[in-house]
Amino acid sequence: MRVVIEFFATLRDKYGRRIDLNLNVNEPVSVREVLSHVEGLLDEITENGRLKEMYKVLVNGLNIEFLKGLDTEVNDGDEICVFPPAGGG
């Protein structure tokens, strides 16, 4: 299964812009499972098993808060975006 993870703002310094993952699975996996393949990432963006405040994880542009959180299903070809807290005008 191919999944793309893209990073933005301060997260790019640590993880680069983009990681193309090639997972050796046939059925859908959770967001948590996918992100665990990036060293240190879950420790940085989660606390007590949940996403830290104002961090955003999107699957194909939809915020996982309105799907199944970190248990949201990821399928072949999906794009995950990870944003740290940010704002502007």
Partner: protein
């Protein structure tokens, strides 16, 4: 002749702190200058800035006035917190009747100019009439004079600033001025201060140009007094702590500036692309905050009294200057189908120098590009230019032509609505109340759409910045595709932002603090005993008064609380927000109920509740009061 602060103090009057205690009335027709005070009751009920502006507009300006007539006024205002230790208090605003929208219009700006006006001894300037010849205003340590500006007329904002500073011989003078765009009455010409900050939207620069007022130079060594030092200091500490602790104001915004939003908004599928034809611009990262920081950032720039420092000073091969901000890179980027950062920056620097609102300028170029795509534009008017999507050179060239109303630039200078109407395709104009929509497609942020539709000053993202809860998760995340509960959020934001625009503080405070945090600073500074409820009421009062001005001006109401047809009936064609339109009427009905309005107009009961009985009477006299 009104008394000075010193006279009132000596006579034992308890003065409100925060304020300097006087306003300057400038009549450009007869060249007179007069110091004035406002009753404490007025200051207490309207605070300053935007609130005071609507009070003065309703008192002194006929809502039906032609914005370019000498009878329109320009109110240049600070608030009691401007230039104090309150965080992010380096701001000022302009209030007038806009030549773009025909509405009451306030435009807010940062930089250093606002505090300097207070240090020069004034809370604000009331500009009325019109001069026959170009002039500028020089205000310093409690004194003011009108000076000849013949040598400045025609100069851009940078040259104007440099020449005034040299002429008056003090490099610490701060200058606010118009460029050629304002002189040429471009309907979205802006006011530029400190060379690169702008009271951007709504054409205040054109109003100033119509009065032949080129610039206002300020310099001072005075300081606003604080009524209750302990209470003030305590409250400031609380606010500063929250700002420092917030990851938004403490990390992302300082490092990447406002353009950190480019990738966020694009990945949510709501970056308006090619005039809102879609919400996804695949190469947007080329002009994102991350790319700007990496490739072209020279230094960060804070406004006066700011601990965030989100401002940018950048340099590219063909120029350098302040910015570009998020709205700017969107307007010259996705809106025109361009991803060339050099062209985007050049257009941005030009707007600073020529005195043009970057949002409207880029947006209107996109309007032209769609008209051109549809074959609506007579080729001879373009004089060889090809306004095709993604043509970076055309963007820069069109900015020049607009400032000087040259050829097709003359049509662009009228704004998107008039441009599209002229060329027989009014549906192409993505405007609300005649003002061009900014950098978020509301089909993927329903509440933000309600904010756009109900904005008193036309298409604006800052009357109710619903992107904060719907996308950024501040103060907490709400479902952007839902309509339930959005009306209440919009009203809360609109009222709260009316307060912050009156204090005046930077809206980026709101990523960390809200009304209940500001009340201590305002009460401490002024000595007026405000409660949180008082401030919320003032916010509501300001919002309602603005709506009343518009009703008197052009019969504002439900038919204007709407969105361009494209956003209401054309589903988003691709991306995460695919298939959505804005479900406006459901949110609107709930909004009116919460506001105590009928069909977009306040009832007598609501106005009297807010202490605005005379406004209810005025509406009734003209048959405009809903029953």
């Amino acid at each position: 002749m009104s008394k000075s602060i010193i006279e009132r103090f000596v006579e034992g009057e308890i003065l409100p702190g925060g304020y300097m205690g006087k306003f300057l009335r400038v009549n450009l027709t007869d060249g007179t200058l007069r110091d004035e005070t406002l009753p404490d009751e007025v200051l207490r009920n309207w605070i300053g800035g935007r609130g005071l502006g609507v009070y003065l507009m309703l008192k002194e300006v006929d809502p039906k006035v032609d914005p370019f007539s000498p009878d329109n006024k320009l109110f240049i205002l600070t608030g009691p917190l401007t230039g104090t230790a309150a965080p992010e208090s380096g701001r000022w605003c302009s209030v007038t009747k806009s030549p773009l929208t025909g509405t009451i219009h306030d435009s807010q700006s940062g930089g250093k100019w606002g505090p300097e006006l207070k240090f020069a001894g004034y809370d604000g300037i009331i500009i009325e009439g019109a001069s026959e010849k170009p002039v500028y205003l020089w205000i310093h340590d409690g004194k003011a004079e009108i000076r000849d500006a013949k040598h400045l007329w025609g100069k851009d904002t940078h040259a104007t600033t440099d020449m005034i500073i040299e002429e008056l011989g003090d490099k610490n003078i701060k200058v606010m001025c118009i460029g050629p765009a304002g002189e040429n009455l471009v309907r979205f010409a802006c006011l530029i201060n400190d060379k690169g900050r702008a009271a951007g939207r709504g054409g205040h620069g054109a109003v100033m140009g119509s009065k032949k007022l080129k610039a206002i130079a300020v310099r001072g060594t005075m300081k606003p007094a604080i009524a209750d030092e302990d209470r003030f200091r305590e409250a400031v500490k609380v606010n500063v702590d929250k700002l420092k602790k917030s990851p938004v104001t403490g990390e992302a915004l300082p490092k990447y500036g406002t353009a950190v939003l480019v990738n966020i908004i694009n990945k949510h599928g709501i970056l308006p692309t090619r005039n809102f034809q879609t919400g996804v611009h695949p190469t947007a990262d080329k002009y994102s905050g991350e790319t700007i920081a990496e490739k072209i950032l020279v230094r960060r720039v804070p406004c006066w009294g700011c601990i965030i420092a989100c401002g940018r000073y950048t340099k590219v091969a063909v120029g350098e200057g302040d910015g570009p901000e998020y709205e700017t890179v969107w307007a010259f980027g996705a809106q025109t189908g361009t991803d060339d950062l050099t062209a985007i920056c050049k257009a941005n620097y030009l707007c600073n120098e020529l005195g043009l609102d970057t949002i409207s300028m880029g947006h209107v170029i996109g309007t032209l590009m769609e008209l051109y795509e549809k074959g609506k534009v007579p080729i001879e008017k373009l004089r060889g230019l090809e306004p095709k999507w993604g043509n970076g050179e055309a963007i820069v060239e069109l900015t020049w032509r607009t400032a000087y109303r040259s050829g097709i630039g003359d049509d662009l200078a009228e704004g998107a609505k008039r441009l599209a109407e002229k060329y027989g395709a009014p549906e192409v104009a993505m405007v609300v109340r005649g003002q061009e929509l900014p950098a978020y497609d509301p089909r993927g942020a329903q509440g933000h759409g309600l904010g756009y539709a109900t904005s008193n000053r036309g298409g604006c993202h800052l009357r109710a910045y619903m992107i904060a809860p719907e996308v950024l998760g501040v103060p907490q995340l709400v479902d952007r595709f839902e309509v339930k509960g959005k009306a209440e959020l919009v009203k809360t934001f609109q009222d709260g932002f009316a307060v912050i625009d009156s204090l005046i503080l930077c809206k980026f405070n709101t990523f960390a603090t809200w009304v209940e945090d500001w009340v201590g600073m305002l009460a401490g500074a002024t000595g007026f005993d405000y409660s949180v409820n008082d401030l919320n009421t003032i916010g509501e009062r300001i919002w309602n008064a603005e709506r009343v001005f518009n009703i008197l001006a052009f019969g504002d109401g439900r038919q204007y609380d709407t969105l361009p047809r494209r956003l209401l009936v054309e589903p988003m064609p691709e991306g995460p927000a695919r298939g959505y339109t804005v479900k406006l009427s459901e949110m609107l009905n709930e909004y009116y109920k919460l506001r105590g309005w009928i069909d977009g107009r306040p009832t007598r009961a609501k106005l009297e509740e807010l202490g605005l009985k005379e406004l209810a009477d005025r509406l009734e006299r003209e048959g405009l009061l809903p029953s």
